[in-house]
Homo-oligomer: 364 residues x 2
């Protein structure tokens, strides 16, 4: 088997990415094909495929440029897409998902990408990689199109209930995430609420707003935002609990589908409108490309001691390649190191803001 | 001033509606003009305008058919759009909003419509009208377009935190609401959650699901739904807490705006696509009509001893007329009486479902 570690050319910046080759509706085919697409975009990356060796070997034969930068780690086990997280954690010790995460923990890979069962991936990643110092709970983040460009939202479902500390930590991670992946210099942050006035919302949100105003993030903290601000792109980073974030993201997806269906019916409603579609077709194909869900494929698990990206289970090779790109971006930008630095700055600021006799209590 | 109570023609089914004539960005003009539009749709309705008499008199002169079925109750006070609910409740005893609600409590009007400050309207309506027996908290409900037709969602912001009993009561009210306003015979009900599996979500949602399965609503209870199901129209009635419902509704609004903007840019992007728009224009105007927010204007306060409808603050006469229609529909269908009957049936069912020794605890 080709393994880059035996290669003696000087490649100081190469990194290896572990892929759960058996996760996702179209695995392992789309995983291997996705890696081949990502190969062109991320030239200094090697691949560790974890899964059924015979099938992966056969697939790699089809991609002659990918094969020499690929390694296979064999396992016959895979986590079922409908497995309960607790069951997967207990019984999936030899699964492709678990071994791919183990590779990151062991330093064999810089990051892991899986299109498998989300709950199982989060449970395993938390158990194996542990959270970063200063982060109580990891969060799931993703980015999506807005009128102004692109925004990041977190948490999308890892934590159904969040306290003010969790939300502040999500703000830190979301801010660094949008710097690393979207390339923003000073991303603005908003807390998702039912109104923009100060007295609105749950206690945890109001306490998080007060705490953020004491931190170095204060200058980029926009305050409360509402659901309408998500599509408007009012802020770059939308911070919310996992229940609300999950509902908001899926509601936006559902509304986009509704609108597409209305659009289809509108164009199909008469001969004139069908001709209109033919004329505008080129522009609509561009719009379709711009809003292609595969472009926004890749939900990041932030706050772990290791980069872990979840690809959509139903995605194809193009979508999986995008998830790989996001993982590589996070590693290349030293995402986790930046989070540690920012949390240290934040903790110092919060301690300074406290009165001397209560400084003990301010320790995160 | 013409007052229908002095009119001796036999009009057994006429009803009078109280209008907060000073609430909303374009009040009182759009309130009076809206009533004139509603007059044609709801022939047996009289209007009680509460607000500045001189301005209202002058406006009514412009609508000769509306004038004879209108009464004015003068007050110089109005609730500011940005007033805190608690302040409005304390200081707004002589406001147009409060006096319009008082008219319902006194039996002078069958229902009230206001385009004023939502929080103030809810606070005053709760204080003056009180909740229905068996309803712990009123909810805000609204309907909106889906791929399958139209659905109702509640609560949209009256109660940020809800327990299982609240959610069950919302399900009852939402079901009767969609029968009354959308004319559905057996509306299906879904609880908004982060997944459809039984173990998902907050305790309150899981307990509400278990309770609903014990009630006469069980046969129409679909179980958990996700954000994507809102636009898909998977169920007719979407039940959720006020925080989540508010975020979901506004996220859908924002996504619809985002999509409209993408559409505008797409058609404007080339000569060809501009020509395409000209051909498809007729179909797009129909789509615009179908998704016109004014069609969906009117958030209902359900669970009060009196029908209270909140119109969007920025609406025009057409939107306000729709809010009036919804209020009239609710009164004509005996909405509140039906809620009382259904709650009695539900309570009986829940008590039967309990073991004899725990039947005390099952009393709502």
């Amino acid at each position: 088997m080709p393994d880059v570690s035996d290669d003696h050319r000087p490649r100081p910046t190469r990194l290896r990415i572990a892929l759960d080759a058996m996760g996702g509706d179209h695995a392992p085919d789309m995983v291997v094909a996705g890696a081949d697409i990502a190969r062109e975009r991320c030239p200094d990356v090697d691949y560790l495929f974890v899964g059924d060796e015979a099938r992966l070997q056969a697939l790699l034969e089809r991609f002659p440029a990918l094969k020499p930068i690929s390694t296979i780690r064999h396992t016959p086990d895979a986590v079922p897409m409908d497995a309960k997280p607790s069951v997967a954690l207990r019984t999936g010790r030899n699964s492709s998902m678990r071994l791919a995460i183990d590779a990151v923990a062991a330093g064999d890979a810089a990051c892991v990408v899986s299109a498998g069962n989300t709950g199982a991936l989060m449970a395993m990643a938390k158990f194996v990689l542990k959270t970063l110092p200063g982060i109580d709970r990891p969060a799931i983040a993703s980015f999506f199109p807005t009128i102004r460009g692109e925004s990041v939202m977190l948490d999308l479902g890892a934590n159904l209930e969040c306290d003010a500390d969790n939300l502040v930590q999500f703000a830190v991670m979301g801010s660094i995430f949008s710097k690393s992946v979207l390339g923003l210099l000073e991303p603005t942050i908003g807390l998702l609420n039912v109104g923009s006035e100060e007295q609105k919302g749950h206690d945890s949100i109001r306490q998080a707003a007060a705490a953020l105003r004491q931190t170095p993030l204060a200058k980029n903290f926009h305050g409360f935002i509402e659901g309408t601000d998500i599509g408007a792109g009012t802020v770059d980073v939308i911070v919310t609990d996992g229940f609300t974030g999950n509902v908001a993201l899926k509601t936006a997806e559902g509304t986009a589908k509704l609108f597409s269906e209305f659009l289809r019916r509108t164009f199909a409603s008469s001969i004139m409108s069908k001709m209109g579609y033919l004329l505008a077709r080129g522009a609509f194909l561009k719009l379709k490309q711009r809003t292609d869900p595969r472009r926004y494929n890749g939900a990041m698990f932030l706050g772990l001691q290791g980069v872990c990206v979840k690809s959509h289970g139903g995605t194809d090779a193009v979508g999986f390649a995008n998830a790989i790109s996001v993982a590589v971006d996070l590693v290349r930008h030293g995402f986790n190191e930046k989070i540690k630095d920012e949390l240290a700055r934040l903790q110092a600021a919060l301690q300074t803001a406290e009165t001397p006799d209560s400084s003990q209590a301010a320790a995160v």
